[in-house]
């Protein structure tokens, strides 16, 4: 209300209009149809305008013309009143028209106003597409009929001069509008006026019929009229509730609009999902009904504008059209999915005609199902198709080197969410990347997964089919997917792969963001769950496709970097196979179970902690008796100063197995090794395992005289406390032994530092001739360079020793700096050379 002339009483016609509007609000709440409301409102406005004009009109011939929506009598409560004052020249018209407009504005009517001669109107139509189309549905409200008719005929002739050009203008405007205003048939906050499938789409169909002649429509007029009526109801409700010209059905308004329109809540129709009934609140009924109507409208308009639809309809195989799954039908269906974006017309034809539901009743679960969360943009069924499109896109050739072609077309692969393309996509090659180039990785992985393409497309299409009830949709989805795939006659192995993907489709993404992927045990566990590199690749692609199809905030460079990191870690474990191949898994799990029962005397919590924190390698390399024995020694964590030592004689005389358990400290292994040497015990073999709570388990195979293990234990403790210097003592001892160690032909010692074998540790491998105190010297060198030994394996072959250490630096990272690596190599070789 402008309030500028508030001293003047509104004209009686205006007051009547206000009363009428209030009355219509009540009628809407009582169930009056959209046409009824909008036509009544339109008539009331006509009456008001005519009343005011009668007082103001000039003597010259003038026509008051309703154009656009007002011309069609589709006035919503807060719609603009599109009014044109048509004249033939004359001095008084301008003044009278302005007076009319002012009075209407003062009364709070949003009047779109223009004062034109016929010539000016035709010029406006040539220059402005919205003007042109608004004239196609014009209506005389009051005034000179002849002027009006001349204008209407001339405008129609002008548009009809070139129907092809008109269609082109329509195509361009429609495409731009839909991009700007979204998809009313699939989005959570549809724009009921400008969105795809909404009122403007419907008007567009009318324009095309008017200018280009009657169009063959795939949807009957009755359906379209019903859709129009419903949309007008919703739009009117929206206007009444917000008091504004609001066309977007915001989430917070859903329940109010649903209530005003008297939408019923209740269970869904036939439940084809087994247990777990779908129940829809009133606002969901509102949105679903909107989606249904908008899809019909969009479908009709697409048929006219998009030549692909006719081609798709002509080429649609009869089996598919009738919803029968012959082997050919399956092949054709997969071809539609593989076509990506180009497959939409065929898919929509199947959906709209009911063929899809006939063929896959399971699809009913997610058809037109809205998703109420921050991440998802589209209804579930549309999201699933979008996922399948994204998946198809991974298999298409990507953009050529040097960026997109100059004509602007972004190559065959569709760019999702154009306006929200992350900046890292525009980073030139070689520059610093904020996140991983996941598009390149996806393409590569897809290239390795060609054989799995059909399974991937089906998994993408069905991954969310379980949504819509309180049950976990991944679990429910497996049942529905199996059922759907069974109908399609998909062979068992492929079916199980797809079912597995549906079950696990969130695994990578969830884990990557919520768990510490630098924990080898976690990755081992995941690798076992996934089971094969083929499945892992499929899971990765599905994660990416799902994320891309969800929305711009779901699959960003940030998420992609985390998921890709986890992917490569699992991949390496599966590829190398030693820790997670089928045998390894079986052995590890069997041994774990046996251990559990053998450790029954201990507190279950302690046992659980112990078993979950020990590295996989330990389970695999020790036999069950050793595992039990070692567990008993270390299940209760030692005190900080405590050193547990057990020596067991082996069959060979003077050979022992010595097990040491202590809290891990830098240099522990080194000092223990040194103490052995000091006590005349030659270390023939050693294995180190570090439990994740920093308790070290060291198992030595030694040979030597005496077996004075109490003395050994004391020496270790003293060395750990710094009370003796192993360096000094061992130097003395070595000079004693110098002549006694046999020296045959010896290979030069070798050091290899390997960062490729493990994602979790740097692996240092040393080959050297055996000598007293060798292990001490080596581990001393590692300690000096601030390396933490997590696992180690030492073996002696005749006179040569092979030592493998799994290390990390003190920051807990692998050693990757070249200078650090060189220093390690040099120091080790130096120490080995000391003789």
């Amino acid at each position: 209300m402008s309030g500028s002339a508030s001293t003047r009483e509104p004209a009686p016609e205006i007051q009547q209009l206000k009363a009428e509007r209030e009355k219509l609000r009540l009628e809407l709440a009582s169930g009056a149809g959209g046409r009824t409301i909008t036509q009544a409102l339109s008539d009331a406005i006509d009456h008001a305008i005519t009343g005011v004009w009668d007082r103001l009109k000039p003597s010259e011939p003038v026509a008051l013309v309703a154009i656009g929506g007002y011309g069609r009598r589709e006035q919503c409560p807060s719609s603009d009143v599109d009014l044109m004052v048509l004249h033939d020249g004359g001095d008084e018209v301008g003044r009278a028209a302005k007076a009319l407009f002012y009075e209407l504005w003062d009364a709070g009517l949003q009047v779109g106003h223009s004062i034109r001669t016929i010539k000016e109107a035709l010029k406006a139509a040539r220059e402005d597409f919205p003007a042109e189309t608004s004239f196609l549905t014009s209506r005389l409200i009051s005034g000179d009929r002849e002027i009006y008719q001349s204008f209407a005929d001339a405008a129609m002739r002008q548009s009809r001069r070139s129907p092809e050009a008109f269609i082109e203008r329509v195509r361009e405007a429609t495409s731009e509008r839909r991009t700007r205003s979204g998809d009313a048939s699939a989005e959570l906050e549809p724009n009921v006026k400008e969105g795809r499938g909404a009122l403007r789409d419907l008007e567009t169909i009318g324009w095309l019929a008017t200018v280009c002649g009657p169009q063959a429509l795939p949807v009957d007029a009755q359906t379209l009229e019903r859709a129009a009526d419903h949309l007008l109801r919703v739009r009117s409700a929206l206007h009444f509730l917000t008091g504004r010209h609001a066309d977007v059905l915001l989430m917070q308004l859903h329940s109010q609009v649903a209530e005003l329109l008297g939408m019923p809540a209740g269970p869904a129709g036939a439940d084809s999902g087994g247990p777990g009934q779908q129940y829809f609140a009133a606002e969901d009924v509102l949105i679903r009904s909107l989606y249904e109507e908008c899809r019909s409208i969009a479908f009709a308009l697409d048929h006219i504008l998009d030549p692909r639809y006719k081609a798709a309809a002509d080429n649609l195989p009869a089996d598919l059209r009738e919803g029968r799954w012959t082997p050919d039908a399956v092949t054709d269906f997969l071809a539609i999915l593989a076509a990506g974006d180009e497959g939409w017309p065929a898919f929509r034809i199947l959906d709209q005609s009911g063929a899809l539901i006939r063929a896959l009743p399971e699809w009913e679960n997610i058809r037109c199902l809205p998703q109420r969360n921050v991440y998802h943009r589209h209804a579930v069924d549309v999201h699933c198709v979008e996922t399948s499109i994204a998946m198809a896109g991974f298999f298409e050739p990507g953009e050529p080197e040097g960026g997109p072609p100059a004509n602007g077309k972004a190559g065959k692969r569709r760019r999702f969410f154009k306006s929200e393309a992350p900046e890292e996509d525009r980073i030139p090659a070689g520059a610093s990347r904020p996140g991983i180039d996941w598009e390149a990785l996806c393409r590569t992985v897809a290239g390795d997964s060609e054989r799995a393409r059909d399974r991937l497309l089906l998994a993408a299409l069905l991954h969310d089919i379980g949504k819509g009830t309180a049950e976990d949709h991944s679990v429910r989805g497996v049942r529905l997917a199996r059922s759907a795939l069974g109908r399609m006659g998909i062979p068992l192995i492929e079916k199980e792969d797809v079912a597995w993907l549906v079950r696990s489709h969130l695994l990578l993404t969830k884990t990557a963001v919520r768990r510490d992927v630098e924990d080898e045990s976690l990755v081992v566990e995941l690798a076992e769950t996934v089971g094969s590199t083929e499945r892992l690749r499929m899971l990765y692609l599905l994660s990416a496709a799902d994320g891309l199809a969800t929305g711009p905030s779901a699959w960003t460079g940030w998420t992609a970097t985390l998921v890709s990191d986890l992917f490569t870690r699992i991949y390496h474990l599966l590829d190398r196979g030693e820790l997670v191949n089928a045998d390894a898994s079986r052995v590890a799990h069997t041994r774990e179970a046996e251990l559990r029962s053998a450790l029954g005397a201990f507190q279950p919590a302690l046992v659980d902690t112990h078993l979950s924190l020990m590295p996989r390698m330990w389970f695999l390399t020790q036999d069950i008796h050793a595992l039990i024995h070692q567990s008993k020694l270390m299940i209760e964590p030692p005190d900080p100063q405590e050193l547990r030592l057990e020596a067991v004689p082996l069959d060979q005389p003077d050979h022992w197995e010595v097990t040491v358990v202590a809290q891990d400290k830098p240099g522990l292994f080194s000092k223990v090794s040194g103490a052995f040497a000091l006590n005349g015990l030659n270390i023939l073999s050693a294995q180190i395992f570090t439990r994740q709570d920093r308790v070290a388990l060291e198992i030595f195979g030694v040979a030597g005289h005496g077996g004075k293990f109490e003395r050994l234990q004391q020496d270790i403790i003293k060395a750990l406390r710094g009370k003796i210097s192993l360096d000094l003592r061992l130097a003395q001892k070595r000079s004693d032994y110098a002549g006694r160690v046999s020296r045959g032909k010896q290979d030069a010692p070798q050091v290899r530092i390997d960062n490729g074998s493990s994602d979790f540790y740097t692996v240092i491998e040393v080959h050297a001739p055996d000598r007293v105190g060798l292990l001490y010297a080596l581990t001393r060198a590692l300690t000096e360079l601030e390396l933490d030994i997590y696992l180690a394996k030492v073996a002696t072959y005749a006179e040569d020793v092979v030592d493998v250490f799994y290390v990390r630096d003190l920051d807990g990272q692998k050693v990757t700096e070249p200078e650090h690596i060189r220093e390690i190599e040099r120091l080790i070789l130096h120490r080995l050379d000391r003789d």
């Binding site: 996140g435 992985v445 998420t559």
Partner: protein, 112 residues
């Protein structure tokens, strides 16, 4: 009033959120971000092909508190977010001149 701004490892978010709740902080802002300190970016290797990652994904958590709560909040975040390995992150304590609640116009402590 102070703003506590913490850069943490992504998987620690739940724990930090819980710790803050226990410390009496109910509102927070969470931002996905990336960065590095001494923790280096790295190279992903898939079948011989390398994919460079220069910045490591992190999460930034920002909360507001009274001056006398700062040490408690910092302690809570520190304990929850720590793994002992490099890349655990940092906590910044920033002074805040003024705070307003948009809905009501309240300011200062009432707006926290």
């Amino acid at each position: 009033m102070k703003m506590i701004s913490a850069i943490i490892k992504p998987f620690k978010l739940e724990e930090v959120k819980e710790a803050l709740r226990t410390a009496g902080i109910q509102g927070m802002t969470v931002i996905e971000t990336r960065g590095f300190g001494r923790q280096r970016g790295h190279t992903e290797v898939y079948r011989g092909a390398e994919y460079q990652v220069d910045f490591v994904p992190k999460v930034k958590v920002e909360v507001l508190c009274d001056d006398d709560q700062v040490s408690q909040v910092v302690e809570a975040v520190m304990t929850a977010a720590r793994t002992g390995k490099i890349g655990d992150g940092k906590i910044f304590v920033l002074p805040v001149d003024q705070v307003y609640r948009i809905r009501t116009g309240e300011m200062g402590t009432d707006a926290i």
